[in-house]
Each structure stands twice: as structure tokens, then as C-alpha cells.
């Protein structure tokens, strides 16, 4: 009986007012918080809170490639490690990189690579570390959003920022930015990473089944959400510097008044 209840709960992802389990509308993003440059040791870093996701991204390099044979003569090698902390999920996760983490590391690397002007640093590597501290569905997207900020913070030349967001199908309807429960019980999940500057998709995956119409609706929804996230990324990058600017550029006038 318990198992049957679980199956039925699929229908309950949207209530009669059209609200989702966490009270959002179908096309609402979860609350987003971005923070840049919080690690001293890393060349660049960023922190993201996307819903209940808490993710830290750090960028090291460009630095000497080790082992040497991985170095490329015409460009920098971009390496990426997506990792979930043992305490990031309900059940303890083994800290060893799983098959899923290896795959996500690869797709994130490929999602970020088109944005990085890696030809500026031949023979070097750029290392991106994404550490999921708390996971809540859509962590690969949040990881990409954070990692792209960390790269920009490291001062690595980029063709633009990459923003990412997922859409999915829950209780027969297309919804934006699935949470963990919706992702698990829903019918489909479609993570998208997008570069607004040149209107390019750098990652798209699909889990589940969507009709062509649903897919197209979902994709445009995700792309628009990425544009919103991109604006927040730009603000987050500048915020720290604007704060200092505001703080100090007012001072001389006050001093001059004395």
C-alpha cells in the first residue's frame, strides 16, 4: 500500500490551484543567490544557492599541465571535477567519484569549454572544481552557473558567461527548474546550459519522454530562464567591485568638505 501511495503521489506534484509542492508556479525559478570570490587560495571562486542546492566552485590556473602528456600545443586543457560531498544527500554518499559524477564532470566541462578562450594559454591547464555541499535537483545546472562565474572571477578570458537551468514535465505539465522531488517523481527532465551572448546552447540533456511540442515549449522556457540567471551572474560579478567603488569614491568629497 505504501508503494502504491508513492506511485499516486505523481499526481500531487501540482495542486488544484496550479501551485507546485514548494508553492511555486509552473514557470517560477527557485530562489537564487550568487556570491563571487570567496576562496583565497583559488584563482577564482563562486558560491551558488539555487533552491536547496548549495554549491561551491573553484578555478585553479591556467597552470602547468600535470601529467605533462595531457598538455596540448595549441590550447589550454580544461579539466572539470563535479563532486558531491558525502553529506550532500539524505543517505550518505560515498566520497569516491561515482559513474554519475564522472559523466556530469564531462558534460559540465563541455558546457564551459566553448566559453573559455583556451587558445590564450597553450600547454597549460585550467582546473574547475565543483563541490556540491547540499543537493536538491538540478545541481549540474547550478554547478555550471557557479563554475562560469568562478572562471570569470579568475580572470580567464571568456567569450561570455554560461548560465544553466532545467525544465521538466510534472503531472503532465511543463515546469521550470525542477526540485529534487519533482525530478524523481516527474515524467521528464531537460537540463540546458546556454550562452546568451551568442545565443548558443552548450549543454542539453533529456531524461524521460517529451513530445516535440513539449520539448520546444520547455526549451524556450529554459532559455529564457537562463537569460534571467545570466543577468544575475553579471550583477554578482560586479557587485564586489561596485561596493568598493561606491565606498571609496564618496570619501574624497567628505574629506574635501573639512
Amino acid at each position: 500500500m505504501i508503494e502504491l501511495n508513492f506511485l499516486h503521489s505523481e499526481k500531487d506534484l501540482i495542486d488544484k490551484d496550479g501551485k507546485r509542492i514548494d508553492g511555486r508556479g509552473l514557470y517560477d525559478l527557485r530562489p537564487l543567490k550568487l556570491d563571487v570570490g570567496l576562496l583565497d587560495k583559488a584563482e577564482g571562486s563562486a558560491y551558488i544557492e539555487h533552491g536547496k542546492n548549495r554549491i561551491l566552485a573553484a578555478v585553479y590556473g591556467p597552470r602547468e599541465a600535470h601529467p605533462k602528456h595531457i598538455a596540448l600545443p595549441h590550447r589550454a586543457v580544461v579539466r572539470c571535477r563535479y563532486h558531491m560531498a558525502p553529506f550532500s544527500v539524505d543517505e550518505r554518499k560515498s566520497p569516491a567519484p561515482s559513474r554519475r559524477e564522472h559523466e556530469i564532470s564531462k558534460v559540465i566541462r563541455e558546457a564551459l569549454d566553448p566559453a573559455i578562450m583556451s587558445e590564450y594559454y597553450p600547454r597549460a591547464t585550467i582546473d574547475v572544481f565543483i563541490e556540491v555541499l547540499q543537493s536538491d535537483g538540478g545541481s549540474r545546472c547550478a554547478g555550471i552557473t557557479a563554475a562560469s562565474l568562478a572562471l570569470a572571477d579568475a580572470g580567464i578570458p571568456m567569450k561570455g558567461l554560461v548560465a544553466a537551468c532545467a525544465v521538466g514535465k510534472i503531472s503532465g505539465k511543463i515546469a521550470l527548474d525542477l526540485s529534487d522531488a519533482e525530478d524523481k517523481q516527474g515524467e521528464a527532465d531537460l537540463p540546458v546550459a546556454y550562452m546568451p551572448r551568442n545565443d548558443r546552447i552548450t549543454l542539453i540533456q533529456m531524461d524521460g519522454i517529451l513530445t516535440q511540442e513539449e520539448f520546444e515549449e520547455g526549451l524556450s522556457l529554459a532559455v529564457n530562464a537562463c537569460k534571467d540567471i545570466h543577468n544575475r551572474q553579471q550583477e554578482a560579478l560586479k557587485e564586489k567591485y561596485l561596493k568598493i567603488k561606491k565606498e571609496v569614491e564618496v570619501e574624497p568629497k567628505m574629506a574635501g568638505g573639512n
Binding site: E43, E64, A76, M117, A124, G155, M158, P196, K238
Partner: protein, 227 residues
């Protein structure tokens, strides 16, 4: 020809700077008729050239740059030096002292791992590791002073126009300040107070490098101190 952002405005990577017939300067790139920033930095329009003065970023050596580096390894006929660049620098034994030719069998008697060296970049073109020399006036092993590490992108600000900022700092703190283009600054002063003051002002310049009127603010700070 239209400018999409104001001069001296803060921009982020991928932000549209201008459209039309502009010259593409540092840290910018062109896509058909539009020019974008590739870095977080401050836009600089000067006549027809648009560039971005970046806030952070890796140091790329250029010939004739003065750099301060740390010996990380001893090789067959030279040293490997960490100059805070993506590539380690090579310091051949022949570029340290003319006397240390063939007769020195143990290079660690001249420079040991961990030593700091003031050096100059001889060659670098990204296809090979930078070659540096420690031969010349003022170059060689560092024996006294403290080092401060700041981002190499902020070095032009620390030096100031024609060295105005660093000269001011030297005069006011009575310190000897050597600025490496790679972001390592060597400070030595007769008094510990002078050293501390110089270091704190260098850190302030690093923090506020992207703001305007920095030299005036540093001047005001010293005037206040003097009272």
C-alpha cells in the same frame, strides 16, 4: 558607430561594448560588427580603440619585464623558477653570474630551492617556457625585505603614471619598494613601521585598483598620517 557602455564602466565577460568601426584593444574581441569584453574590468575608450582594463587574471611574461620569483627546482645547468605565471621560468646558470661557468659543480651553493630572485624576462612566446636572467644591475638573490603578493593585473595601478604612485609610497614610508611585473612586490625599510605602512597601502591599492582618484586618496592618507 555606437558605444553601448560608458567609458570607465565596469563590465563582465561577454558584455557588449560597442558596435561598428572600433579598434579592438586588450581584453576585448570582435564578433562581426560588435565588440565584446572578455574579462571583468573597466572599459576604456580612447579615440577609436576600445579596451578593457582587467581586474584579475594570470600573468603572462613579456621580454624585459622585471619579475620576482622563487626557486622551485635545480636542474642540470640552471634553476626552475616560479614567477606566478602559467609556465615555470628557466634561469640558466650562465645567466646568474659570469664567474659561475664550468667550475661550479653544485648549483645549490649559488641559489637554493626557496630562494627569491629578482630577474628579468629574456624571452617568452608561449610556445616555450620563459627564459629569465639574474645578471644585471639590481638583479640577483633577494637577501632582505618582505614580499607582498598582489594580482599582476593591478601592477600598473601600483606603479602609477610614470611611477608616480610607487615613488610617493617610497618617499612617504621611507622604504625601498621593488615592483615585479608578476605581482610580487618586495618591500624593505629601515623601520618595521615603515614596512608595515607600505604593505598596508599596497593592499589598499590592490583593493581599490578599479576606482578613480586613487592617487589622491593615497596622498590624503599620508597627509592625515603626518598630522
Amino acid at each position: 558607430m555606437t558605444e553601448q557602455v560608458q567609458n570607465k564602466q565596469l563590465v563582465s565577460p561577454g558584455e557588449l561594448l560597442c558596435e561598428g568601426d572600433y579598434l579592438v584593444g586588450e581584453n576585448t574581441f570582435r564578433d562581426v560588427d560588435k565588440v565584446y569584453s572578455s574579462q571583468v574590468g573597466v572599459v576604456d575608450f580612447s579615440e577609436k580603440r576600445v579596451s578593457v582594463i582587467r581586474i584579475k587574471g594570470p600573468y603572462l611574461p613579456r621580454p624585459d619585464d622585471l619579475v620576482i620569483g622563487r626557486i622551485v627546482d635545480i636542474l642540470m645547468s640552471g634553476w626552475l623558477v616560479d614567477i606566478h605565471a602559467p609556465y615555470p621560468a628557466l634561469l640558466p646558470a650562465s645567466e646568474v653570474s659570469s664567474q659561475t661557468g664550468r667550475q661550479v659543480s653544485d648549483l645549490s651553493t649559488i641559489l637554493r630551492v626557496g630562494d627569491l630572485v629578482i630577474s628579468k624576462v629574456l624571452e617568452f612566446d608561449r610556445t616555450r617556457d620563459p627564459l629569465i636572467t639574474a645578471q644585471g644591475p639590481g638583479l640577483g638573490r633577494v637577501s632582505t625585505g618582505k614580499t607582498v603578493e598582489i594580482s599582476s593585473a593591478k601592477i600598473p595601478r601600483l606603479i602609477g603614471r610614470n611611477g608616480s604612485m610607487v615613488d610617493l609610497l617610497k618617499k612617504e614610508t621611507r622604504s625601498h619598494i621593488l615592483v615585479g611585473q608578476n605581482g610580487i612586490v618586495l618591500v624593505s625599510s629601515e623601520s618595521p613601521e615603515g614596512e608595515r605602512a607600505a604593505i598596508s597601502v599596497i593592499k589598499m591599492i590592490e583593493r581599490e585598483a578599479h576606482t578613480q582618484g586613487l592617487t589622491d586618496r593615497v596622498k590624503a592618507l599620508f597627509e592625515k598620517e603626518a598630522k
